[in-house]
Structure formats: structure tokens, C-alpha cells
Symmetry: C2
Subunit: 396 residues, 2 copies
């Protein structure tokens, strides 16, 4: 039979980057295309121990239906940690457990967006968020960035000229894909503008604890006095992505509606791993664990920055992120990174072309994203030398 | 600030049954309101053993990002079992792992429904499905049931008079909330009508293996030759609901779009428990496990039927389900079961009034649902005696 797919789902195009990801099945390919921490950083031994404890002590709680809002001890521990350590969320806010930052993005979108409403985001931005917005029929507008993050003058132009803007989506710290961090001054201006135009901010902050140098910048949520910021947090980058545990901190009026949407999406998050994370927070020192992970990541970041300096043509620029998982490279203005990335795959390396992160997927992007946390130091060197070669062939 | 919630989310009313569920925090209340198997039936020892094995042998696979479609061995094992044992799904179909039947319902709805499109369902039907449909702005129409399930004459009237019907939602076996099973003849007629009006069928079948007597009826999907049936299966009722593992079998054109929606919903299902279920299917005999669970449930069903006969006023009718988890009671025509259920809670028992399962939530329902799998035999007896008392007080 012929299927009549919903309009905005049918309109979602098979991404041009799919063919690049196809090469990943080849085990010889070095993947710089991931967005995850090095598996050697996962606290697997501790999780194994805690899992055995749960089976011995509280298995029925783990295996029966749980609350849509999340496992209460994990909600409490997460709320307390974010409040005490990062002044993020207040007693007036609520917190739900989600299956990662992606679900927070999706639930907020479903909660707020009537088809055709506008979401404003950074250009470039996280492809998973852009596609979540598209899947609910949102109209997307992007605001160009500079070294300090989203350009506030450009944001105001977009807000002044757009109708039915429901929220501004930002990844303020070690942004995906650029690795850039929005300055404190910009965060304040962003909040002011959101107030002036009466729109929400979705602060997606999965990488912020992965800082390898420089001073931490307060979250936007920590400056929010009126429930204007919805905060998406995650245990994916500081414990493990495969378990799918994240959270959302926001005003209860928003959270209550997101709970309704989550109830009909998946009833609740896997209960066992909510318990594993809760027990982890109670039993171990997660800050120390993150510190160790940062040490590992810093070595890899430094190695990749050095390899870029060594192998890349001087016409190519790249970011020096103070943390996170990504370095963003830019070819000279007007060059098409999609074509470059295709050539890079021929050399058995996978990067993600900038067009994947664009609101307009057909627009030419001169940028591409490289991940440094997943490859080994040796792979980083080999991959960058091959990319350097591809760049020279491409530019000359 | 004032929040501008999306129209169809804002329109979702706080359910009248919420106050009934509030009493569940009182540990003295006997809950007949659940929809889950007895925790003593969960294969916890086996899962503990398999979990330890995964930590020892394949932890990195469990904790890194997985495929949106699901963990390949679990996809293969589930597809094979459903095909070989139940002729459900063909080589032309595809299968994705979801976080339970609820997510299959939600993903199909997002895939197919433009706001205002119609979904036809049984009256009464599963509240989680109805709310999922509402959360995407679907227009709902219900078709009355009799002992053999959805009435086909009434279904044709609805299909003939409705525009943009995208699918018919049925729970053909041990239906929630009525416990009824759609006859083979009706299943054939349903498929014929779906063909005539060119609409899909969503077959939600989480309870079908929990049969305590009578002959199994083939799934609707097993009679589907043209990709018209989307099949929602679940491990919640045969292993454990808290782990959140289900699956969907359908034509690849549908599955591909559902994968896009799942990718932006939660990236993938908890990887560890997909591996637990896969290893369970490889290591143990799930059919034998289900047989044991059925023995346990049958005893409880029989006890509840007997208690209904003993304690209930003869003006009340109740179903004799051949399996599943629920018995459905009906007061004389015109009586309001919501009021009765309120009185039942005063006697420290929780049932779910029929209005919760209605497309029109404000309509008076004379039915209510009782679950027999979660309470103990003693609790079943006490609860039914109290309900009997409340019924007499209510009717007299």
C-alpha cells in the first residue's frame, strides 16, 4: 500500500551525511565523527558493583513500572548537586529525569510548538536538536556565531522580524559543533533579549563539566529569576551515553506538561539505570571521576590541536576549545566542506561536514567538525595527517 | 512569565482519575489499578546473572551510543521468534526496538498524523494510547465493542463518515481495559475494511502470550499481506515493565520514518537491557517462563472471578477474560462508575473508572477496570468484598 506520512515528517530529507556515515562500517576507517566520551572513561567497574547491589537489595523497584517524573532519589540528588555546585535551578524549579538531553529537547518542543511556530538557534547547531524541531513542524531560524557565541545584534534582528518565536535554543558551553563557549556578557544579553521579546531559552549543556582550561562560566539558568530558562542536563558525557539518562530543570508549569508528553512517549526512563546513577552519586565522587575524564580528554585535545597545526594548510582555521569533545575547522570562505569530507572518507577518515549542522541543509558550509575524545592518540595523528593531505589536494 | 503551551498539549485535561491515583500513596490501599505483571514473575535471578556477564564480557557495547534501530541481536532474535512462533512479520517487514509498546504508539502517531487527522479506536481503549494520539493533535473516534471485540458494522459507519483516517488502533487480545479478545472472524473483517478504506491498522498486542485458557487467535499482522498492519510488541508483560523494552514490526517504509522520529526522541533504547533481553532469549526458555507466569496469573484471575461472583450485586456484570491482566465490570446502564470508584477509594481500594478509557472523557461510563495480577490472593478477596459493599451502597 501507499503510506501517507505526516507532512513535516515526510519533509525531513535523508541527510547528505548518511553516505559519510556508511563508511563507518569499515573497521579501517578512523571515526572523528562521534560525539561521545572515550569508553575507557566510563565507570564500568563501579556500575557493575552497584548493579549487583541493586539486584540483591532492590530488584523489584528496578523492574516494576516507575514514575514518569523519574526515580525520586535521582531527582533529589541531581537537583541538589546542580543547585549547590552550579547555582542551577532553584527551589521554585522542578526536575524530571529524561532519556538524555535529546529527550529533553524533544519533550520541550512537543510541549511548546504549534506547527509553524519559530525556534531560533545558533548557526551551526546540533543536528539532533534541529531534527527534533523539524519533526514537530517548527520553523527554524539561525543566528551566526563568533568567538563569543551567538551574535546578540543578529539575534535581535531575528527576534524583531519573526512571529511566534517560542524559544531560543543554545548550547552555550563547548558548543556542538564549534566547541565555542558563550561569554558571560553574551549570556546576560541573551537573557535580557529573551525577556524583551518574551520567549523561553532552552539551555542545552551536556558538555559543560568537561573543561580542560580557563575559568568556568555560570550557566544561563543560574541567572534566571523568572522561569525563562529550561535547562537540559545529561549523564551521557560524564558517565555513559548508552544508558540514556539525562534531566531537565525548569518551572513546574513547563515540567508538568513535559511529564504529560513523556508519559505518552515512553511512560518512564529505564528504572534500573536511574538507580545505578543515584547510587553512583551517593557512593562515589563524581567530581573526581569527571576530573579524571578531563585529564584524558585534555591530552587528546592537545594532540589534535598539535596535529592540526602540523598537518593543515594555513588557509584552514580551527577552534581552540577550552573543553568539550569537538574542534571546528573552516576552509576559506566559499569552499564546500561536504565535498572535502567526501574526499576525506576516501582516505578512510570520517568527519562531519558543516551542512549537517545548518538550518538550511542545502546551503554550502565551509566548516567541518572533528571529535577528539573517541580516537586514540595514534589515530588522531594519522587521521589529521590524512585530512591535511585531503585539504591540500582540495585547495590546490 | 506566562507560558504559551502548544494548543493540543494545553487542551489535554488533568484526568479525573488523578485523584483516585492519589490514594495509592496510602500503603493501606489495595491497588487494583495497575497494569503490570506480579513482580514475583520477573526473571530477576536470570537477569542478575546475565547482567554480570555483560559487565564482564561486553560492557563497552552496553555503555556507548547504540543504533537507533536497536541492538542487532535483539532485533534478529525477536523477529525470528515472532515469525516462527506466531507467523507475525515477514522477511519483507522490518523490526525496531522501542522503549515499550507506548513508544511504538507514539512514534507511529508522530510518523502518520497531521494535526486534525483521525484515528479510530475501540471504545473503551487504553488511556496511554488515547493520550499519545491527543498529544499529536489527532481527532479520535471510537467504535463500540461487544463480546467479540470492535463491532465491524459500527466501524464501517465511522470509516464511511470520517475524513483523513490514518489508522485504526486495536488491542485485539485480552484488551485493555475490557479483557476481551477479538474473534478471528472479526480480525479478518477488520483487515478487509482497512483495505477497503485504505487505512493502516495499529495492532497493540502486549498481553497476547498471557493466555490461561481457550485457543490462541492468530495476530492480525499474521494475516497481513500488504504491509497494512503495524505491530506493537512488548517485553513488559512477559519479562519486566521497568526495563522499558518493546518492539515494532512493520513495512520498512514505515519503520524508516519511525526511526527518524525515534532518533530525535531518545537516540536509542537503553543498550544494556537490550543486551539483557537478547541474552535471556539465547540462554533461557522464555516460553517456559511465560507458562509459569500464566499459571500464577490464572490462579489470581480465578480468585477474582470467584470473589466477583460472591460479593457483587447481580445487577453488575463482569467479563471472563481468557488471559491478560484485567476484568471489566459494568454497572446497570446510566450509572456513573466515576462516582462509584470514588466511594471505593474511601474503602481503601483503587479501581479505574471507565471514563479514563473513553475518547470523550466527560461522558458518563458505567464500567470500571480491575487488575488481578498485582494484588495477592488475600488482597483480591478483601478488595472485592469492599467493592461489593460499595456497589450495594451505590445501587441501593
Amino acid at each position: 500500500m501507499e503510506y501517507k506520512i505526516a507532512e513535516h515528517i515526510a519533509a525531513m530529507k535523508p541527510s547528505a551525511i548518511r553516505e559519510i556515515f556508511k563508511v563507518l562500517v569499515d573497521p579501517e576507517v578512523i571515526a572523528l565523527s562521534a560525539g561521545a566520551p572515550d569508553p575507557s572513561s566510563y565507570p564500568e567497574e563501579e556500575m557493575a558493583k552497584l548493579s549487583a547491589e541493586i539486584f540483591a537489595e532492590d530488584a523489584d523497584t528496578a523492574f516494576k513500572y516507575g514514575m514518569t517524573e523519574g526515580y525520586q532519589p535521582l531527582r533529589d540528588l541531581t537537583k541538589k548537586r546542580m543547585q549547590e555546585k552550579y547555582s542551577t535551578g532553584t527551589d521554585a524549579d522542578d526536575l524530571i529525569i529524561t532519556t538524555g538531553g535529546q529527550q529533553t529537547i524533544s519533550l520541550l518542543t512537543q510541549t511548546m510548538i504549534n506547527k509553524g511556530d519559530t525556534i531560533v538557534c545558533e548557526g551551526p547547531s546540533f543536528i539532533g536538536a534541529l531534527n527534533a524541531f523539524r519533526s514537530f513542524g517548527a520553523n527554524l531560524k539561525s543566528v551566526p556565531m563568533d568567538e563569543e557565541g551567538m551574535r546578540i545584534d543578529e539575534l535581535e534582528k531575528v527576534l524583531a522580524s519573526s512571529e511566534n518565536v517560542k524559544f531560543i535554543y543554545v548550547i552555550p558551553t563547548f558548543q556542538n559543533p564549534t566547541g565555542r563557549t558563550m561569554s558571560l556578557e553574551r549570556r546576560r544579553q541573551l537573557l535580557e533579549l529573551a525577556k524583551k521579546y518574551d520567549v523561553l531559552i532552552l539551555e542545552d549543556n551536556p558538555y559543560f563539566e568537561l573543561r580542560y582550561e580557563g575559568e568556568p562560566v555560570p550557566t544561563i539558568k543560574s541567572m534566571d529569576t523568572e522561569g525563562r530558562v529550561v535547562y537540559a542536563g545529561s549523564y551521557s558525557k560524564v558517565m555513559s551515553p548508552g544508558m540514556r539518562i539525562g534531566y531537565c530543570i525548569a518551572n513546574p508549569k513547563i515540567i508538568n506538561r513535559m511529564v504529560v508528553c513523556k508519559q505518552v512517549s515512553d511512560v518512564h526512563t529505564n528504572q534500573f539505570f536511574q538507580m545505578v546513577v543515584a547510587r553512583y552519586l551517593q557512593t562515589y565522587d563524581i567530581d573526581k571521576h569527571i576530573e579524571e575524564e578531563c585529564k584524558l580528554n585534555k591530552i587528546k585535545r592537545d594532540a589534535m590541536l598539535k596535529a592540526c597545526e602540523t598537518y593543515f594548510d594555513k588557509r584552514v582555521t580551527f577552534t581552540h576549545p577550552e573543553g568539550g569533545l569537538f574542534i571546528w575547522c573552516e576552509l576559506p570562505e566559499g569552499c564546500d566542506s561536504l565535498e572535502l569530507c567526501r574526499r576525506i572518507t576516501e582516505k578512510k577518515v570520517a568527519c562531519v561536514p558543516g551542512s549537517a549542522f545548518s538550518v538550511d541543509e542545502d546551503a554550502v558550509s565551509n566548516g567541518f567538525r572533528m571529535n577528539f575524545s573517541m580516537p586514540t592518540l595514534e589515530q588522531i595523528d594519522i587521521a589529521c595527517s590524512r585530512i591535511g593531505e585531503a585539504i591540500r589536494e582540495f585547495l590546490d
